[in-house]
């Protein structure tokens, strides 16, 4: 198991290295003065000079790359072009907002998705199954921003139950929780449909397996077969898909943070791109990639751990 995890971490490191190299080349591949590419046309000559200095742009390209990677390895992601604050500090300030948003969306997707999927399987072939099938497709098909706008209109504007923008008052848990509901729902709803369909399909497959026939031949109730046996098999399928989806939830946070004016990694990336703030763009992209591969590692490990055949083969 440890060597399995080590291999995964090694793979993740390689992926991150490639991302870093791509980010580095971006600056040089775009035609024009790299400092203008990185800092934007509005930057002052002093800023460009400082940036040239920091990146060692007068050095040979491979040396520059080595210096760049060396700084990354030290955890130095550079400074914000405008505020001169360390990029890493800025990212760590907003990271908790995005993390809670992603986790909340994930919880919507998993709890509602699994519940609906199970409900459909219990009523397989009857009207609740059909209804859930239609709803699931609907959830997947409706773009998140439509969900976001409508839920804003209904729950924030008309009913005034939940705040429309922001992340809640700092220190006030209830207010933060309320502010989390709509954006996470907007991101998570598409996944609810997806997970529900996945759970249903995997469980119906499990219900056709020989072992469920054995359980049935001993008079074990359908409910127990569904919840104790088929669900276990379905969870493996869901888990591996959802882990990849978790990365998607992070990307989804970009638009949700913009629509709901929430601080976060997504909004920070967006603002950084808009203001041609290269060090900040690079930092947020790298951290997002880091989160992505971390999720993949966790998913791989959990999937391996949940399936005894895979677990013992490691």
């Amino acid at each position: 198991m440890t060597s399995f995890i080590m291999r995964r971490i090694g793979l993740a490191a390689i992926i991150l290295l490639i991302v870093a190299i791509l980010l580095f080349s971006m600056m040089h591949l775009i035609p024009g003065d790299p400092t203008v590419v990185a800092l934007g046309p509005r930057s002052t000559p002093e800023m460009r000079e400082a940036f040239r200095e920091m990146m060692g742009l007068d050095q040979p390209i491979l040396k520059q790359l080595a210096l760049f990677l060396g700084r990354l390895a030290e955890g130095n992601l550079g400074e914000d072009v405008w505020s001169k604050r360390p990029v890493l500090t800025m990212i760590f300030e907003v990271l908790p907002y995005t993390a809670t948003l992603a986790v909340a969306s994930f919880l919507w997707a998993v709890t509602l998705g699994i519940l609906l999927g199970c409900f459909a399987v219990v009523h397989h072939g009857k009207w609740p199954d059909w209804l859930i099938g239609i709803l699931s497709v609907g959830f997947v098909a409706v773009p998140s921003f439509v969900v976001a706008l409508y839920s804003l209109l209904i729950f924030a504007v008309s009913l005034n139950w939940l705040p429309a923008i922001g992340a809640g008052t700092p220190g006030d848990f209830i207010s933060q929780l309320k502010a989390l509901v709509l954006p996470s729902f907007a991101i998570g709803l598409g996944w609810v449909g997806y997970v529900a369909r996945l759970v249903r399909a995997a469980m119906i497959e499990a219900m056709g397996e020989n072992y469920t026939r054995t359980l049935r031949s001993f008079g074990v109730s359908e409910r127990r077969i569904i919840f104790r046996y088929a669900l276990r098999q379905a969870l493996i399928a869901v888990l591996s898909v959802i882990a990849i989806g978790f990365g998607g939830l992070l990307t989804g946070s970009v638009f949700a943070e913009i629509v709901f004016s929430r601080p976060g990694l997504g909004k920070m990336t967006y603002d950084a791109v808009m203001s041609r703030n290269y060090p900040l763009v690079m930092g947020t992209v790298l951290v997002t990639s880091g989160l992505y591969v971390t999720c993949m590692i966790i998913a791989d490990v959990v999937t391996a751990w949940i399936d005894p055949r895979v677990r013992s083969a490691l």
Binding site: T214, S217, S221, R224, P308
Partner: protein
């Protein structure tokens, strides 16, 4: 060949399993079993032989009401311990599964969930024993596993199915079935997926069950040797129909149906050597037919009437031996 306990019973007791004119088709169009009559008496071992696709598993599953939703079943009678299964609700059938009839399946490697420890699964199979504590259930299971000769049973409870061999898993399956104290044990080719050594061990075990447990057994097999060895009566299936039925020694010594004859003629030493597969007879692939004789396309003795009239079920036994054949040639 030892006479079965049933022959020793003086009066006619009620049958454990009774099928009359049972037909099963898949998706409404593909007939798999056509007009089957079959009876299993208490303590009796009845064998079913027939080549692949002749409908043996379909018949076996119907006994416990385990057919998939796509299957339609119709007929006069299908009763277990005198309880009608044709009109029974799913709930009523659930109550019968286990105590009335338990089943052993063809492929032991897929009999149990790959994701759960065997102990957990066996405990779940004993769901009826609500009066017992988990510890008592565990004791019961250990005892049953010991009885079927599974080495180191306590460790197996903590194991996952893939950690056991096919032969060991089949023992576990048999132990689980016997824990139900069923009136009828349906064994659908319990040794087909196993190698020869394992097969011999499982057969030996079935022999002991027959001696000790007093259950009736419906034994489905490709293996003529197995049938000859442990069955009292045998039914020969061909294209969804039972074409011949009678005491096992009579059928082997004096087969009357052309299909059975062809079967035995393929390999005279078949019974002694114990071939694992039925020989395949030349001609077209068997397909169940509702009208006429399903064997007509391959039958060396085919008659004019064979294709358009269903052959009658004719008593062909000498004296009061119950021996039947479904053939126009047997008709008086």
């Amino acid at each position: 060949m030892t006479p079965g306990p049933a022959t020793a019973t003086p009066v006619n007791p009620a049958p454990v399993l009774e099928l009359a004119d049972v037909s099963i088709s898949y998706s409404g169009i593909v007939p798999a079993v056509v007009g089957v009559d079959l009876m299993v008496m208490p303590g009796e071992i009845v064998g079913i032989i027939g080549e692949s696709g002749s409908g043996k598993s379909t018949l076996a599953h119907s006994v416990l009401g385990l057919l998939p939703d796509s299957a339609q079943i119709s007929g006069k009678t299908l009763s277990l311990n005198g309880i009608d299964m044709l009109g029974a609700s799913e709930q009523a059938m659930r109550q019968l599964r286990g105590p009335a009839a338990a089943m052993i399946f063809q492929n032991p490697m897929t009999t149990f969930s790959p994701m759960h420890k065997l102990g957990r699964q066996l405990m779940d199979l004993l769901w009826r024993e609500r009066g017992l504590s988990n510890k008592e259930k565990r004791q019961k299971i250990l005892k049953a596993l010991q009885d079927v000769g599974l080495p180191d049973p306590a460790a197996r409870l903590e194991a996952y199915p893939f950690q056991l061999s096919g032969g060991m898993l089949q023992r576990v399956a048999i132990a689980a079935a016997l824990l139900m104290r069923p009136s009828l044990l349906v064994a659908d080719e319990p040794t087909t997926a196993l190698d020869v050594t394992m097969e011999a061990q499982i057969l030996h075990l079935m022999h002991e069950i027959r001696r000790n447990a007093g259950v009736s057994i419906l034994m489905i097999s490709h293996h003529l040797g197995v049938i000859a060895e442990i069955c009292d009566r045998v039914a020969v299936m061909y294209a969804g129909r039972i074409v011949e039925e009678g005491p096992v020694d009579v059928i082997f010594a004096d087969p009357r149906h052309p299909y059975t004859k062809a079967l035995f003629a393929c390999e005279p030493a078949l019974i002694e050597t114990g071939a694992t597969r039925l020989p395949v007879i030349g001609g077209e692939v068997p397909r169940p037919v509702r009208i006429g004789c399903g064997f007509a396309g391959r039958c060396p003795q085919v008659l004019e009437c064979c294709c358009n009239a269903t052959p009658p079920w004719v008593a062909v036994g000498a004296g009061n031996v119950s021996h039947f054949s479904r053939c126009h040639r047997s008709a008086p």
